[in-house]
């Protein structure tokens, strides 16, 4: 029996054949209907369509096609919110005959992008309804990966939000792009000012109302392992949060790195190195470590998100009345300010069950169900009329009202390239706060890097 060896020429021949086959397969794959066209650019849209009126569409939401029965939809939201979702979802299941499977969603914008950009880019979606944040939501909307919701969500739901929380739809913002809304907020994230009322009463110290008082009170508490204040400023993202909070109090535009922003940066630096009321290690700590410091009785005051309400009260071994109270934030040059943002519901354009997803998102965000969610988890508490009417003068809505009436709330700083812009603030802020760069150089570097984003 003769044997023929595989020669180098033969190997190169069939390798070339394989390469051609692989390239052809790749080309054929990319030519499929998977690519989702992005919405027209704003200039094109402006030429083609008159700018939408200031108020949301006056037409009632178009009735969606009746959802089919027997389907299983996937809803992705952070795990701690699942229990609060279950009663609302069970009712929808009973109404429609469909099932809902809850999936744990990421906790940060960058993780959202990491997890969902690849499937969305390829024209598929692992979820039907998704909770998106302020960073990923606008990016997904711009890329054409989300369904417009104007005709899906009824008018009564849009009108349940306070004026100002949903800017005019023709303004590109966290919830809207190119004249359409892509997200229904379900979270009202305010950087509240938390403090140890028990310690303040014991020392007979008043809650600080200005930056100067904040420093004075902080110094009164800082000793023997206790700090006046703390924060979580680890990269990515958390440095931006705190510096934007201080910049709101100076009235600056953080993405412009203006003089008021420089003032905010300098105040953060002084808290750590000049007044020494905040540990420098906060620059490498996250919110878990921040909360841990507070609940280990080593911090007198701090800025933290609303979820700390449940975290503190859930720590039954530690929590007592007066240990985690909320007051208005200390006033900087522009007053007692704090910025708000939040997560919201969206439907991916490539949702596996689009008609059912439309029905589900309308159900979850309805005026009837929003209070149920808010009562189940403080993360869902928002200044929606339906929620405030239902929850009355209890819990977080009390402070939400207080902050609103005092004019404390400013919207989150917005940039079309939100993630990149926040990264610039993170990088530059940390370079300055770790003494790797002077303030002047930091502001200059910030301006240059923001300009380079285009």
């Amino acid at each position: 029996m003769s044997q023929r060896k595989l020669t180098r020429r033969d190997f190169l021949k069939f390798a070339g054949t394989s390469l051609a086959a692989a390239s052809a397969a790749g080309l054929l794959g990319s030519c499929g209907p998977n690519a989702t066209p992005a919405p027209a650019s704003p200039t094109q849209a402006a030429k083609a369509t008159p700018v939408a009126s200031v108020a949301p569409s006056q037409a009632a939401a178009k009735p969606t096609a009746a959802p089919a029965k027997g389907k299983t939809l996937v809803v992705a939201i952070q795990a701690f919110a699942h229990d609060a979702m279950k009663p609302v979802l069970s009712a929808w299941e009973a109404k429609t005959g469909n099932k809902v499977s809850l999936e744990s969603g990421p906790a940060t914008g960058q993780e959202m992008m990491t997890k969902y950009a690849p499937p969305f880019q390829s024209g598929t979606s692992p979820v039907d309804v998704l909770s998106v944040d302020d960073v990923s939501g606008p990016a997904f909307a711009r890329a054409g990966w989300l369904m417009p919701l104007d005709d899906i969500i009824p008018q009564e739901t849009w009108k349940d939000f306070p004026e100002g929380m949903l800017p005019p739809v023709d303004k590109d913002y966290f919830h809207s792009y190119n004249g359409k809304r892509y997200r229904v907020p379900h979270e009202f994230a305010v950087g509240y000012f938390w403090y140890r009322r028990d310690w303040f009463e014991e020392k007979k110290v008043s809650v600080p109302k200005t930056w100067d008082e904040f420093v004075t009170v902080g110094k009164a508490f800082t000793k023997d392992g206790v700090w006046g204040t703390t924060e979580g400023m680890k990269k990515p993202g958390l440095t931006f949060v705190y510096l934007a909070y201080l910049t709101a109090q100076t009235g600056g535009d953080i993405f412009k790195f203006d003089d008021a922003t420089a003032q905010a940066f300098q105040f953060a630096y002084d808290l750590i190195y000049t007044h020494k009321i905040m540990p420098e290690t906060v620059l490498a700590e996250d919110y878990t470590q921040q909360n841990d410091r507070y609940m280990k009785d080593t911090v007198a005051m701090m800025r933290q998100w609303p979820y700390f309400w449940d975290v503190a009260r859930g720590n039954t071994a530690w929590y007592k009345e007066g240990r985690a109270d909320i007051a208005l934030p200390p006033a900087g040059p522009a007053g007692p300010k704090t910025w708000y943002g939040g997560w919201g519901w969206s439907v991916p354009k490539a949702a596996p069950n689009p008609e059912e997803a439309k029905d589900l998102i309308a159900w979850i965000t309805s005026n009837a169900n929003a209070p149920t969610l808010a009562k189940g988890q403080s993360w869902f508490v928002m200044p929606r009329k339906s929620i405030l009417d239902a929850m009355g003068n209890t819990g977080l809505p009390v402070y939400m009202n207080q902050y609103t009436k005092a004019g404390c709330l400013v919207p989150r700083p917005y940039h079309p390239k939100q993630s990149d812009a926040e990264t610039v603030v993170d990088d530059v802020g940390q370079l300055f706060l770790t003494k790797q760069m002077s303030l002047a150089d930091a502001m200059k570097a910030g301006r240059e890097r923001i300009a380079a984003l285009g």
Binding site: M1, S2, Q3, R4, L6, D10, F14, A15, T17, S18, L19, A21, A22, S23, A25, G26, A38, S41, Q110, M113, T114, A117, Q121, P138, A139, F140, R142, A143, G144, W145, K234, K235, P236, T239, P279, E280, T281, L283, A284, E285, Q289, R293, P416, K417, S419, D420, T423, D426, D427, Q430, L431, L433, T434, Q436, M437, A445, A452
Partner: protein
């Protein structure tokens, strides 16, 4: 005669060699076809998962492709120019090289020390050998989280021990060089056990007679190590060094979890830059350009490593 010997239907060339005709019909041809068919799927898969993505990445690197800001435009070397002036990228190229060189060197030295120790006979050696692998078995994310707490300026065990011994407090994760040292220490702690295991296996292949001969010649422990152990282990050390060098160039999880690239961008590595560009801002074009920069670093370092390996091979 020759033609008869060759077989019916065969023709002969000028040198009397049999020319093939009707390859697909002969047994040799069928076996050849079978070999090709069996190999094509594996080769095609490899080419599709490696060659095609590389070509596509190269193409994307020449564009400003961002799905949130269409349309993609060809910008030539625009991304390269941007990288040259992007302090985060230039800093991360430098730290990536520093990170892998120092980590690899320490892992080789400590791995050899661990392997030598575990090769000695002592009570509980089996348990020690098993325990040695624990760091290697732990997920890097878990290690990074743990070490982040251990290096914390207020809560961390390391700063506390240093303070108790010396009275000095050092903010590891806030200082640019401190944070770089912290991530390198974590990386070395995690990877050394694997090298220890490799060197242990290599040491067990060293003939005992060589050590006896060295002892007879009057060599002490260090001289035996230097003259017997090291030369015989050098090929493995070079191979493992090259392997670790190239492997660690793609480190991401340690940096992401432990420092997020901070403070500033002191501990950013190229893989982290790629991730941030691609999944932070959907800047796929720019991320592809940074990927090519990482490829260039891998190519150069891998090439230098191979040259060194060949030299060692020639020596031994």
């Amino acid at each position: 005669m020759a033609q008869m010997a060759a077989g019916k239907g065969a023709t002969m060339d000028g040198q009397g060699r049999r020319k093939r005709r009707g390859r697909g019909t002969s047994l040799a041809g069928q076996r050849y076809l079978a070999a090709v068919l069996l190999l094509v799927p594996a080769v095609a898969l490899r080419l599709f998962t490696a060659f095609y993505p590389f070509v596509h990445t190269f193409y994307l690197a020449l564009t400003n492709y961002n799905p949130a800001f269409p349309p993609a435009q060809f910008i030539g070397f625009g991304n390269l120019k941007r990288m040259a002036t992007d302090a985060a990228v230039t800093s991360s190229i430098a730290f990536t090289i520093l990170f892998v060189l120092i980590s690899t060197l320490l892992e080789l030295v400590l791995g050899l020390a661990v392997g030598s120790l575990l090769n000695k006979p002592f009570k509980g050696r089996g348990v020690a050998r098993a325990a040695n692998l624990i760091p290697w078995a732990m997920p890097m994310v878990v290690c990074a989280l743990g070490f982040r707490w251990m290096f914390d300026g207020d809560y961390g065990i390391f700063p506390d021990l240093i303070w108790r011994v010396s009275g000095l407090r050092f903010p590891w994760l806030i200082n640019s060089w401190g944070s770089r040292a912290a991530v390198i220490i974590t990386n070395v702690w995690k990877s050394t056990p694997f090298l220890g295991l490799v060197f242990l296996a290599a040491l067990q292949g060293v003939p005992a007679e060589l050590y006896e001969a060295a002892r007879v010649d009057g060599a002490n422990a260090w001289q035996s190590f230097r003259s017997v152990t090291l030369p015989l282990l050098l090929p493995q050390a070079t191979t493992m060094g090259l392997f670790m060098l190239v492997w660690q160039l793609a480190s991401f999880d340690l940096i992401y979890t432990m420092t997020g690239g901070g403070p500033g961008f002191a501990t950013q590595v190229l893989a982290y830059n790629i991730y941030q560009a691609a999944f932070g801002g959907l800047n796929f074009g720019y991320a592809s350009a940074i990927s090519l920069a990482l490829f260039a670093v891998v190519f150069v370092m891998g090439g230098l490593g191979l040259l060194l390996y060949r030299r060692v091979e020639v020596m031994f």
